[in-house]
């Protein structure tokens, strides 16, 4: 019998498959038993009510998608009242994703969602920091460190920092998040992108730009997961373009301890249970006792990260 369980810090998940924030909700219970999953991760909420972005909010780009949903939010009150209780019926740990426009607002929300029924808090630091030219906290190591310190003081729950691919400093940001108090890194959020309808000459998204997700993002997110696993000493949760068990293996081998599945669920809403079953079968057939035995087993010849990056630049 294959052991699929993994540990993310103090939290044990029965398997390494969980949904990515914003691509999952209570509604998926219509399609399969949500307790199949290793954890539940909710859509990012903000403290107050937010409308979200103008439509269209999604479009397709070759074999992947862009979105600019814009975090519509009913606010923390409604979330605590309605959403958290829904997940009480399930055994899988509940991970709540939050974000804020300033570090203080962010921290306030972090302490507000530190309630019974919440097992970990995913802090979406890929969201913009309006105190620093509107760039996402996780674009720079310094703003990452500052916000993580404030968030750390706001809760005793495990803190998962969700990083952005819109940076040239992934290893530094990963280390800053760890030093600031993160218990795990979620790698990564969507990559800023754009598409234009050449007939109308309008951007395909109501909001002009949006985040790229799906298969196109995978090699980028995988590189980041690898960089983060090398740079930091806390567990890495891979995320980006994962659509099958083979992709999961790729992230585990690269150094991720678990993964999140996002866009693939839109294409095939039963993909997460399928992946779990495939993963189990695959490990069984290869005689691997535990999914943990795979983590970080990439044969990379101890290459020096700096050199690799240099030689890689085209």
């Amino acid at each position: 019998m294959v052991d699929l369980s993994v540990d993310i810090g103090s939290l044990r998940l029965k398997n390494p498959i969980m949904p990515a924030s914003g691509t999952f909700s209570e509604d998926l219970a219509d399609v399969f038993d949500l307790d199949t999953l290793g954890a539940h991760v909710t859509k990012t909420i903000t403290r107050g009510w937010r409308d979200g972005n103008p439509t269209p909010r999604v479009c397709e780009v070759s074999g992947s998608m862009l979105n600019s949903i814009g975090i519509p939010s009913k606010g923390v009150g409604a979330f605590i009242e309605k959403t958290i209780p829904f997940y009480r019926a399930y055994k899988a740990p509940l991970v709540v994703s939050i974000s804020g426009n300033t570090a203080d607002e962010f921290a306030a929300l972090c302490s507000e969602v530190t309630v019974e029924g919440v097992d970990a808090i995913e802090v979406n630091i890929s969201c913009p920091n309006i105190e620093e030219d509107g760039k996402a906290f996780a674009i720079r190591p310094s703003s990452t460190y500052d916000v993580m310190c404030k968030l750390r003081r706001a809760t005793h729950l495990p803190l998962w920092a969700k990083l952005t691919p819109n940076t040239g400093e992934t290893p530094e940001v990963a280390r800053a998040a760890e030093e600031g108090g993160a218990d795990a890194l979620v790698v990564a959020n969507t990559l800023l992108a754009m598409a234009i309808d050449v007939r109308t000459r309008r951007p395909k998204l109501g909001n002009l730009m949006g985040g790229l997700s799906g298969p196109s993002l995978k090699p980028i997110a995988l590189r980041m997961a690898y960089q983060c696993a090398k740079a930091a000493n806390i567990p890495v949760i891979g995320c980006g373009g994962i659509s099958n068990a083979e992709d999961v293996l790729e992230f585990l081998i690269a150094g991720a301890s678990a993964v999140q599945v996002g866009t693939a669920t839109f294409i095939n809403p039963t993909i997460m249970p399928s992946i779990i079953a495939d993963l189990q079968a695959r490990l069984e057939s290869e005689g691997i006792a535990s999914v943990r035995d795979l983590v970080g087993t990439v044969i990379d010849g101890e290459q020096n990260e700096g050199v690799v990056f240099m030689e890689t630049a085209p």
């Binding site: 509604d27 979200g52 495939d278």
Partner: protein, 282 residues
Amino acid sequence: MALHATTAAAISPANAPAVFERDLEVLSNEPVNGEYMRLVLRAPAALLQQCRAGQFFHLLCPVVGGERPYLRRPMSIYGFYPEREELHFLYKVTGEGTRALFHLGPDDRLNVLGPLGQGFSIEDDWNHLVLVARGVGLATLAPLALEAKRLGRKLTAICSARSPDVLMSIDYFRDLGADIVTVTDAENTAGVDNLERIIEELIADKGVDAFYTCGSNRLLRLLQNLGERHDIPGEIALEQQMACGLGMCHCCVRPFRKDGRQVNLRVCREGPVFDMQEAMPW
């Protein structure tokens, strides 16, 4: 396709899903007139019994003939026949996804997700239903006739088109015992004023208990006015770009007036059928 193989096993019977994700067999896929195609799938009765008029399926269009659609495509249920194990769609070839659908033929399979969303409601005391449909909107409204017939209600279908030869589904409605009014641009009968006259006459002659329409701003405004004037409720089916189709991603929202406030509702979850007076012209 291998990806779907383990799905059934993963879903425990105790939590039987309300929504199916299934590969269905294509029975036929044929042109209805120059612009529309009818796709007929074989579906299990259990699935078809859950279908309601106004609901939709989210179709995983195949990668075929140079077309590489990625996201699913929403399509209204055009017909559902548990007794024949048939699920029908009526679609217009517009872009990559529907061009891919066009390639399907008998023996192919199509992965569908559904039935999804809220269908039309027919209250117990609504005896005379009037639907006003144009173009592909017929695909969405047609099964209402099916439901009306099942419930023994009277239905008048006002069908609008560019010209008489592209009028669709007339036989569909006739077979279900609906009264049919046809209007066309070519005959200069499809204008709002003429429609208003026709509907006012219907109200005066036979009484109308509910309006149903979909998709057009012009029709929405007309029916909202008529509804308000005569205190007749109504419903409208709306469209929006979708990703998940299940209510998770919040990409498919539209604004509605509710209790004096403007709120965003998800077309895939709170819709695609909405209260006509709450809908906002766009």
